[in-house]
Subunit: 331 residues, 2 copies
């Protein structure tokens, strides 16, 4: 079952990662088309030793494709995902455009691949922080029932795209040299600083990112009653999102039992040895597939509850890898 | 009432700040003696235009002092604080050595200055993250009663001392140049990374820093029932500790009421205008006295509760400023 694939947003942080993961995982494909904005048309990318040129989006550009990955923002997805579907492709969309559409499955394949059984034409890839949190908590939820999560994130600059990552580096260089720097991609200078706003503010003071962690988690885990209170913060880290998760459980759980449940959960790496000073770090996770969990301890706020520290590469499991896993499930 | 003062640990990050704050606030003193380790004996510091030489600790070195500030670690405090007291000085100790001693007041002057009324010979200055949290929540606690706090911190490198700050800079330079770097002060390379352990691990998986935020807050606020579940994380920020605080309240509180209570709290700066993209940032707080609070919203986990984002300069209000304020109260 060899496939013809398209990647929209191929020069972006997630798009580049997608191409690399398709090659690494030997995804069965006979053609890959890369789409980018007009500004990137001269650029190329290498896939299985072949140089591929960027193409522009336009009328009938998806004709002949089996699967189109979208990772170029919500506006572009709203316009082109329906066209890709009309031209015969299945769209796997990394933007937020369709995630809460009741007709569209929102998928973390380890935990709700069954929503793909009906062979949908559009599949939504969840928000990166949401995927990492779901990977860290789903095994506990299935076994014990999670009622409430206090989630506090430490999100890498590359979560805001390739240009934000470059801005982190440029801003850090300027700060170390004692030079002034004006932020252009992020809202403020991120060098040695923290920005406690990701996405737009809503009327209730929560940001779009914080709402995603609530609404998308409820949909993925089919648990509309679960409360997720998130505080999402951009940190001067290049890659990998980290988070503290405090869990209120329906059935109490000891630390050894939690370690047992998490060590056998798919896609999860237990890094929890205080005696060896071992706990998840973004520097260790960058470029790897598994979400790491550690610092497991009894909650001091929720009797019988737990506190965890989770770190995952948001460009891989938080975006590109998850999208490729969805495509693999659909094969 | 002019005083003779001593500063133990005068070349450290907090010691330097202490000297600057004494000068800024025109603290009435006729003599300042600076104590440092043997390695720093050649060094000097300037106070009110006068060059002061570092002295070594030794027999009878505190004789004649009214007040001795200690900021050179727990071991040294345990040895020399009793000597300073014996030689007639009041010791204001920034280490953790005496903080939980029932005979020693643990003071954030805005909130429990009354514990100084008995003119104690030793006063403990709380942990830096604890002071910043107490400043952010005490007004709400007094008015509404806080039952539980989920505290998740983002702590600056300088919280681990001057050498850790220098290591952050050196490590960041190396990372940007693509060069290897070996951490010597912090336990792992902090450049563009996060270290989710501060202080030692306890048997229950919580760290010393996380225990301090629980035990010291209970003592300062005289609220032994309050639960504080902390996750403390070192971040690649030079200066200022930041934290997300989720509060379970005995009496429900709206966001406007919280803003009203916090805007009139001493030493607090309300920075909470989503419409202007205004929220506290460590880069803005560095070198300033007030703890800033923003991102105030209704808790999604605790009915009637609140979520806050607080940032404060941990070398000033989190350490040196608080110690000087204690000395001012004692005058």
């Amino acid at each position: 079952m060899s496939r013809r694939l398209g990647i929209v947003g191929a020069t972006g942080a997630v798009g580049k990662e997608l191409l690399g993961i398709l090659e690494e995982r030997e995804f069965p494909c006979e053609e890959v088309r890369l789409y980018a904005s007009a500004a990137s048309l001269g650029k190329t990318a290498v896939f299985r030793g072949q140089e591929l040129k960027m193409q522009e989006l336009g009328p009938n550009c998806f004709a002949g494709l089996d699967t189109a990955f979208f990772s170029a923002g919500g506006e572009l997805s709203r316009e082109y995902v329906p066209q890709a579907v009309e031209q015969g492709a299945v769209a796997i969309d990394n933007s937020s455009a369709f995630r809460l559409d009741p007709e569209v499955p929102l998928v973390v394949p380890e935990w709700n691949a069954e929503t793909l059984a009906a062979q949908p034409r559009i599949v939504a890839n969840p928000n990166c922080s949401t995927i990492i949190m779901v990977m860290a908590i789903a095994a506990l939820h299935r076994e014990l029932g999670i009622r409430r999560v206090n989630a506090v994130t430490y999100q890498a600059a590359s979560g805001a795209g390739q240009r934000a990552l470059e801005e982190l580096r440029a801003a850090s260089r300027a700060a170390l040299a004692g030079e002034a720097f004006e932020a252009k991609v992020l809202s403020h200078d991120i060098a040695f600083n923290l920005l406690a706003r990701i996405d737009r503010f809503g009327a209730d003071g929560y940001t779009g990112e914080e709402d995603k962690m609530l609404n998308e988690t409820r949909k993925i885990l089919a648990s509309p009653e679960m409360q997720v209170e998130a505080t999402c913060v951009r940190v001067p880290v290049e890659r990998c999102h980290s988070m503290s998760l405090s869990l209120d459980l329906s059935s109490p759980c000891s630390v050894p039992r939690a370690r047992e449940l998490l060590s056998s959960a798919p896609g999860l790496l237990l890094q929890d040895s205080p005696e060896d000073d071992l706990y998840p770090q973004p520097a260790d996770r960058a470029g790897t597939d598994a979400v790491a969990v550690g610092r497991i301890r009894e909650s001091r706020c929720y009797p019988g509850g737990l506190v965890l520290w989770a770190v995952g590469d948001q460009l891989r499991k938080g975006a590109a890898l998850n999208a490729v896993q969805i495509a693999e499930e659909l094969l």
